[in-house]
Symmetry: D2
Subunit: 148 residues, 4 copies
């Protein structure tokens, strides 16, 4: 049964707000639907590595979290998600004012869900792709005693 | 020709201090030698994901940066490093006071260098492994006009 | 300067025929263009794993080789390619008469080239995706003394 | 409860013999214990890529299958394994008479199991490492109607 858009929206918003590290970095969701989420991060000097580019860790945090949110849009009640592994290819040094991310589900599943996330910037209206990440997530029943 | 330990130490220290994102998170190197680096991160609430565990992005930032530092210990003069890709397996939810990382070079090379990094905590003197990352780096000549 | 289609075709054909393991398995190219290659493998019982599905090793061989061929379509003269690493997600058990693969270049480069390959079958005209692979290749000058 | 060595041995032997692709390539197990398996492959010209080296697909088949066997040594009755994803770093071109592999479990689990596999040759008694693979496997209950 498809999940209502208002429920999807609420889940995605909560998933970004309640994650301290994501709020601390400045990452926020911008759009979502069943099986996909978009997010953005205004870049500050504190996000840089030694060469003045956005650190790979910033890119992978944005990709992993947005991918998890995309998986959450398809989740049945009383289930939660955990990233098992991810793999990121850094395609070119990243310099921009705002880092964008779009994550989509490649394969939904009752136990395993696979998502892909692109991290990019817009330059003159064109997408400049900085990295691409594949994320594998486990779908787990929510146990009452686990921290939410 | 082996590189002097004081040069290794200076390189590693600089590589952590001059990377804003690493300094901002609180990551610092604790030991190093030819082909390996150890680092640590005192965990604060801002490093958490929504469930109260250390965010996967924090773990992968620590792993990627420490792996790059391990590669830098073997680097010849006038060459620099760039992460091409990394892959992290998250083995169990991470909760601890201090996150530790040890990165070692699996295969040095004049063009490509491969490193592995373990992220873990010590509990009663035993290593509790949270994640393992493989990092592939490109070795590039330093061009005078590139930001250092 | 774009490479002529007849040169691309000749390169791709040679790249499949001269690789013993590829010829032995029965893999052959079916179409190609600048930055992409398609290939197929008629499935025989010898390609199975213990459950009667196509072995993951067969899928990854098909994906890796087709990705390398896609990279070769963009290669300048006197350069060759070497797979540095690949990562494959197996999305569902694979059963079919003919395994298909399409590989595309995600990011071309003078030193590093990244390709993606989908392995799938057609069922009632629809693509049934079995696995997706990301391949990172090094672009290397051809040395006269290296085996071709 | 630890599993008897004779049961481990029987499982590993069956896991290699009943997989057509593995038998066809010539891969056979040589030793095993709880959480680890070793295997070997006598190299023939049909295993080569175009340059006369062992094809990456041969190495990854050997690594994936041996890793799955290592996971099987820890499996409880009525459960089976499926590779979700693997990632291989090819460290140097592989030329040898016999390709060896040792796979070990990095993290056992009731739902997800992670293994590492090294593919190498012995030269003058020393290990020459050709590739390293990380394999993530799902642990699934055996349903009566699934092909074994």
């Amino acid at each position: 049964m498809p999940i209502d858009q208002s429920i999807i929206q609420a889940r995605v918003d909560a998933g970004f707000k309640r994650a301290n590290f994501i709020a601390d970095l400045g990452i926020r969701p911008t759009a979502c639907g069943p099986g996909w989420v978009e997010a953005e991060l205004p870049i500050l000097p504190r996000h840089f590595q030694q060469g003045g580019f956005v650190h790979a860790g910033v890119q992978s945090t944005l990709a992993d979290h947005t991918a998890g949110a995309a998986a959450a849009t398809l989740l049945e009640d009383n289930f939660s998600l955990l990233t098992i592994e991810f793999k990121v290819n850094l395609l070119r040094p990243a310099q921009c004012e705002t880092l964008l991310c779009r994550a989509e589900i490649l394969k939904p599943g009752k136990q395993i869900c696979v998502a892909e996330a692109e991290v990019f910037a817009l330059q003159n209206g064109e997408k400049r792709l900085f990295s691409k990440t594949t994320v594998t997530l486990a779908v787990l029943p929510v146990a009452a005693t686990l921290p939410r």
